[in-house]
Symmetry: C2
Subunit: 316 residues, 2 copies
DNA sequence: CTGTTAGCGCATTCAA
DNA sequence: TTGAATGCGCTAACAG
């Protein structure tokens, strides 16, 4: 901490020049095996690590990436985040986490600060309302999750596929009247896309659509459940497990119990625990986090180009 | 990003020397009001921000603090984390988040890396099994959450108070047979302390103790509930809301429904939503996060000494 | 293959 | 109150 060694010390201790030490540190080719070995020994024995800030200053890069989540306590973003962190560390980047709280203004503020800070890259968890314009300056140094913008890399979930997976499974189980509990179309993915996928699949499978759109909360699921349960409704697709939780509460307190098969997108273990008779599809948050981190790392090292990635959904 | 201005540029642009700009940046006294004003104007108009890494290198401090949570998806730690982050940013520190996954080995590895990295401070979410020895080197630069160690600052929850609050409330409501569903005593706080507080309060209130200890999961709550519900049991205290969720599931599926008042420590909104008839005490995660961040900042700036802080519990 | 030299952007002497 | 000079730890360009 206080008496940290520098490459100068290592150089002296191993009887070589500073630059040779630097070369060893950066795995550059032009060092004879013997000297390399000798220097590495000294480095190891003293537990030397080069000063990050000095390297950063020299290299025009702070080796810092920011991750802007909407809310830290969102289980999905949380899970994606957990997989990114280790990957970023492994590559020598310090990941710093910020919250946008679904507010465009906060994203803007954060991006502004980050630009000043000269961070190398940003992983942004997108939400409805972000404008392409404010992201444009980041082009090659940004990966957006759950939304796509022209010219910027993204990692998206397969909302359509998820809904279809659920519907097909229900169909297999013999259900012919499948209702839908979703989110308002002002939300582009969880709202619009999933709803559209529901409508499309209904058409395909010749199922009369019965749906209600509200918010992404148990309360909303609870309140709207009544409006989509019709006499012959036998199954219910929920846009999220949160909504499903609310719907289940409603169904459970109905007397007599309506024998309705509920399923949802998302994989909160809790839903499965409280109501084992439900099932769900997993959007692949972990995989998404990994993809996002790898994509950003690739772009920052100049190996990868801008790309739109879609994570396949699968039955949990 | 690429053509970043430096204090040199600002100096030239405002017709002063580099060191004057530096003084203005650091709010040092010896600068005439006029020059200060002039320099500040230039800085603002160009949106200049000093390079963090250069400052870090010069100042022997990277301005980085690490936060080692056990699991990012723990709602309690999550909430504490959310309040710390902004505070740390405000003071110019980059917070980097790591997970220990309740593994001593991982904590050790992280601390090792962090020491090499020369981070300024660490906030560590403690758990049973950490040895005082491995934390000792950090002394003044660490704050531990939920556990205390001699010579190291800590922010702890009031486990005793929480249990007492619940028991007293139950007593007020007229309950005389109050059971307890907890966690094994191998866990020092959630396990042992809360259980002890239960026993102590039972003695105080002349209540015959009936308890079972398991794990911190809904499954455990569900399985153990049966063993603490006796014929005249009228209330149940749960060591966590997770356990309570499991217990409620058990109680709910009992026929006839046992009219048992359940309460818990923790404030998952979900418990309250699904089972409004329960109540709980809030350990103050947000407040804890704030205290921890402030304490660490204080210590790092040399203003505060090592201190043990306890966050008061309160009925939610 | 290796050592020497020259900065990166800033804070901190030391003179003026 | 100010500016010029020095060096933090490192990498890159240049010599040898």
């Amino acid at each position: 901490m206080q008496n940290r060694l520098t490459i100068k010390d290592i150089a002296r201790l191993s009887g070589v020049g500073k630059s040779t030490v630097s070369r060893v540190l950066n795995n550059e080719g032009s060092v004879s095996p013997q000297t390399r070995e000798r220097v590495e020994a000294v480095i190891r024995s003293h537990g030397f690590t080069p000063s990050k800030s000095a390297r950063a200053m020299r290299g025009q890069s702070d080796k810092v990436v920011a991750i802007i989540v909407s809310r830290l306590d969102s289980p999905s973003e949380n899970q994606a985040l957990r997989t990114m962190l280790p990957l970023l560390y492994q590559h020598g980047f310090d990941p710093i986490v910020m919250e946008s709280q679904f507010e465009t203004r906060l994203v803007q503020e954060h991006l502004h600060v980050l630009q000043q800070r000269n961070v190398d890259g940003v992983i942004l968890f997108g939400f409805t309302g972000l404008s392409a314009a404010m992201l444009a300056p980041w082009q090659e140094k940004m990966v957006v999750m759950a939304r796509d913008y022209p010219g910027i890399s993204s990692v998206c979930y397969d909302d359509d596929g998820a809904v279809k997976l659920l519907m097909q499974r229900l169909r297999q189980l013999g259900h012919a009247h499948i209702s839908y509990l979703g989110v308002q179309e002002t939300d582009a993915t969880t709202g619009m896309r999933r709803y559209q996928a529901y409508l499309d699949t209904c058409r395909e499978l010749k199922i009369p659509p019965v749906a209600a759109l509200g918010e992404l909360s148990y309360q909303s699921g609870f309140q709207l459940a009544a409006s989509v349960v019709e006499p012959h409704t036998s199954a219910l697709v929920c846009a999220s497990d949160t909504i499903a939780l609310g719907a289940m509460k409603y169904l459970q307190q109905q007397q007599p119990l309506a024998p309705i098969q509920v399923c949802a997108i998302g994989n909160t273990p809790l839903l499965n625990f409280l109501f084992p008779e439900t099932f769900s599809v997993e959007l692949g948050y972990g995989a998404a986090g990994q993809q996002a981190a790898q994509q950003l790392l690739g772009q920052l090292s100049g190996e990868l180009g801008v790309r739109q990635i879609i994570i396949p959904s699968r039955l949990a």
